[in-house]
Symmetry: C2
Subunit: 432 residues, 2 copies
C-alpha cells in the first residue's frame, strides 16, 4: 500500500503540557512509521532550544509567558525546527513528527500557516494532543524521563522536580486545549486522554492516519518483556536450503529439552507466568519448538508468523539459487530489504504482513514469547530495538539463542542467552 | 489472527436517535466482521417489534415515553432480541451487533447487566453511538431508508415523513448521550458525529475493536461505483495451470483493445473520470491488462492484489495436482474456503491480506477500477455484495467480463458486461 501516502506529505504535530508523554508518543510514531517503510523523521523543539541556548539558563523562569525575551527565543526555535521539517518533506520525506507543546491557538495557527505557505495543498497537518489529569502519572513521567533530561544535568533531583513542576505551571497560564470551537471545524486532531483511555478524533481519514490510530489504541506505558526464539535447527537449515516446511533435524530435536529448561527457569524467577502469551507460526519446525515451552497456555499459531516466502527459490540451496537465477542473486545482494523473490516476498512485504503481531505485542502488559523464523524475528527485533529498516535483513538471529527484550521508548535493553551451552552471550550492542 | 477474538465474545451495541444511520452502520459492521471470518450476527430490535406487534399501530404515539403500555411492549422486544443474541454467542457466535436506540442510561444499564449475568466476564460490550445534528443529512436519511421501511408500507410518503419526525421527537424526550459522567468511567464506547467527521472513543482496545475503528474511519455515505476486471487470458489459463507469473495469451492480447474501448465509453458517459482510481496487482497478466485502461492516472500496483498463492502447486495443472497430491486435492474439494495450499494460502488468508484494499475502496468517493485475479476478485465481490464467506470461493468471475458494482448497505446492484462480444450479460442474481 506504499503509494497511498505519497499523494500527500503528513505532519503529526504534538501538543500538550510538559510531562504528558509527548516525546514518548513522538518517538513511538516515528519508529512505527519508519518501520512501515516511510521516510519519517522527528523534529523536537526542545532539542533546537538546547542547541541554540544551551541548558544553563533554562529554569522555570525561562518558560514564563511574561518573559518576553524568552518567549521570542522559544518561538525562534519552533520556527527553526519547522523550517527544517519543511526542508525534510521537500527533499523526499514522507511523514514528519513535530514535537513541542504548541500550547495555544495562535501558535498552532502559525504552524498551520507556515506549512500551507511552504507546502501548499500537498500536505495534511494532524495535531496530536496528550492530556493527563492523573497526578500520579505526571509525577512518574517527571521522575522517569525529566530527571535524565540534559536540562537538569548535575541538578539535585528534588530541586529539578520542583523546577519542572513550576515550568508546567508557566505553560498552564496560556494553555488552550485543541477544539473545533477554538481551532475551527476543519482542524484535524487526535486527542489522547490519560495515555489512550479516551481518544477523540476530528477529521481523521486516510491510510497512514488509520494505521496510526490503531497503533495508538494499543500503546500503553507498562514495561513488559518480549522473548524472541528461533525454531530449532531444521532439515533445511542443516542442508542450507531456503524455506520449505521441513521437520527439525537431530540437532534441532536435541535442543528442545534445553529450551524447555530455559523457560522453566524463567518461570521460577517469575519472569514468565501463566499469563504469558506464546505466539508461533504454522510451520512445523516452529510449532514443534513452541510446543516444548511449558508456561500453561498452548501456543497460538499464526500464518502471518510464517517465514519470508522465497517464491520460486523455496527449498533450494543458496548455491542452486546463484546458479539457476544469477540475476536474482545479484539483485538480492544489492538491496536485500526491497528484493522480492519471484512469486515470493521482500522484507518490506514481510513488515506489512506481520504488523498485527506488533500491535498484539504492544498491547500486552504481560510477557510475550514469539517462536518464529529468522526473517520474521529480524523484523520484530528491528521494530522494538529501533533499527533502521535497511539494517533489518542483516540482524543476527542465531540458532539456539533466546533474545530477551526489555523495550521502552528512550533506550532499549537486550539480553541474549545461548541456551545450548546455557550461558549469556553478547548482544548486538556489545558487538557493535 | 483468528484466535485473538475467541478469548472474549464482543457485543457492539448501537445507540442513537432514529434516522442517524444506525442500521446502515450495523449492517456494514456485520458484513465486515463476517468477511474477516468471524461468526457475526445482527440483532435488530425494530425487527423484533414488527414480528411481535406488526406494523399497524406503530405510528408516533407508539413511541411516546408516556405511553406506558407501549414502553413495556418495546422493552420486551429489546429483551427478546438480547436473549437471542446471548444464545447466539453461547452457541459459537463470536461477535454480535445489537441494533436499537438504547436511548438512556437506565436502558443501557439493563443491557449491560443482562449480558454480565448471562456471559460473565467472558465478553466485551462496546456502545456505538451515532450522533447527527445536520438536518439535511437527517432528512435525507428519512427519505432514503425510512420510506421503504415495513412500518410505512402503503402510507403516503409525506405523511410517513411527518410521522417519523414526530417519532424522533418522542425519543428526544428521554434521550441521553453516552458519557463517562452518566455511564461510568469504565464504559467502552465509540461515538460517531455526523457520520465519521468526529469520533470519540473511551476504553477501546483489542484486535477486532482496532480493526473496527479503522473500518469506521473510512466509511462514508456517498455512493460510488466499483469495477472489477479480471486480467486477459494468460498462458497459464490457456494451459489450465494454476498461478505463476505468465504473460497474456494471444486471446488475452486480442481482448485488450476491447477493454480499452469499454472504459473509453464509460468515460464518455461520465461514469468514470480523471479522479477514478485504478488498482492492480504486481503480476504481469494483470499489469498488462490495467495498462490499456486510459483514464488519465497510471495504475497503482499492489503486491496484496496478487493472486492466491498456490504454494507447491503453483504452475501445475489441476490434473497434475490431483495426481501428485491426491490428499490435498480431496481436502480442497471438501472445504475450499479454509483449504490452504502447502506453502501457500487459503481464501481466509487472502481475505486478511487484501483488507487494506477494501478500506481504500470504502474510502473513495470517486469510482474505483480493480484489475486483478479470480480469487482476489471473488473476495472483493463477496465483501461488497455481502455474500456468505463460504460462497466466496465459488463466485463466478469469468474472463472478458467487467463487473460493475453499485453497492450500498441495504441492497446491491450489479451489472456484468461481456466486453468481448460487447453486450450486457446475466448477473449472479439473475442466474440464482
Amino acid at each position: 500500500m506504499e503509494t497511498f501516502v505519497r499523494e500527500k506529505k503528513i505532519i503529526f504535530a504534538m501538543m500538550g503540557l510538559p510531562a504528558r508523554g509527548k516525546s514518548y508518543i513522538s518517538t513511538k510514531i516515528v519508529c512505527y512509521i519508519s518501520w512501515l517503510g516511510f521516510n519519517a523523521k522527528l523534529f523536537n523543539i526542545g532539542k533546537y532550544r538546547r542547541d541554540s541556548y544551551g541548558t544553563k539558563d533554562c529554569n522555570a523562569e525561562f518558560f514564563d509567558p511574561a518573559n518576553k525575551q524568552a518567549v521570542e527565543a522559544r518561538k525562534k526555535c519552533s520556527i527553526k525546527a519547522l523550517q527544517d521539517l519543511v526542508k525534510f518533506l521537500k527533499n523526499g520525506g514522507d511523514v514528519a513528527v513535530y514535537d513541542g507543546t504548541n500550547t495555544n491557538v495562535e501558535r498552532r495557527k502559525m504552524v498551520a500557516d507556515l506549512l500551507k505557505q511552504e507546502l501548499g495543498e500537498n500536505h495534511t497537518l494532524i495535531w496530536i494532543e496528550s492530556i493527563c489529569n492523573d497526578d500520579v502519572i505526571i509525577e512518574n513521567n517527571i521522575r522517569s524521563s525529566k530527571l535524565t533530561s540534559p536540562d537538569y544535568e548535575g541538578v539535585d533531583p528534588e530541586i529539578a522536580i520542583q523546577d519542572f513542576k513550576k515550568r508546567i505551571e508557566q505553560y498552564k497560564k496560556v494553555y488552550q486545549e485543541i477544539s473545533t470551537e477554538l481551532d475551527g471545524e476543519d482542524v484535524s486532531f487526535i486527542k489522547l486522554s490519560n495515555v489512550t483511555k479516551k481518544i477523540v478524533m476530528n477529521q481523521i481519514t486516510g491510510y497512514v492516519e488509520c494505521k496510526l490510530v490503531s497503533f495508538l489504541m494499543n500503546l500503553h506505558i507498562t514495561p513488559h518483556t518480549i522473548y524472541l526464539v528461533r525454531h530449532g535447527e531444521s532439515m533445511n537449515n542443516a542442508e542450507r536450503k531456503l524455506g520449505g516446511d521441513p521437520e527439525l533435524s537431530e540437532r534441532g530435536k536435541r535442543y528442545l529439552p534445553k529450551l524447555k529448561q530455559f523457560f522453566d527457569d524463567e518461570k521460577d524467577t517469575g519472569a514468565v507466568n501463566e499469563k504469558t502469551k506464546l505466539f508461533t507460526s504454522t510451520l512445523r519446525r516452529s510449532v514443534e519448538t513452541a510446543n516444548v515451552i511449558d508456561i500453561g497456555a498452548r501456543p497460538a499459531s499464526f500464518k502471518i508468523l510464517d517465514e519470508l516466502d522465497a517464491g520460486v527459490c523455496d527449498n533450494m540451496t543458496m548455491d542452486e539459487v546463484e546458479k539457476k537465477y544469477p540475476d536474482e542473486w545479484k539483485a538480492r545482494a544489492t538491496d536485500k530489504l526491497k528484493y522480492r523473490f519471484p512469486m515470493g516476498e521482500s522484507y518490506i512485504d514481510l513488515v506489512h504482513r506481520i504488523e498485527p503481531i506488533i500491535f498484539a505485542i504492544e498491547k500486552c502488559t504481560e510477557p510475550v514469547i514469539v517462536v518464529s523464523h529468522t526473517a520474521v524475528l529480524r523484523c520484530i527485533y528491528g521494530y522494538f530495538m529501533k533499527r533502521p529498516l535497511k539494517e533489518i535483513p542483516h540482524i543476527e538471529i542465531p540458532l539456539e539463542t533466546v533474545i530477551k527484550l526489555n523495550p521502552d521508548a528512550y533506550y532499549n535493553r537486550e539480553e541474549r542467552f545461548n541456551v545450548e551451552i546455557n550461558e549469556k552471550c553478547k548482544t548486538l550492542q556489545d558487538i557493535s
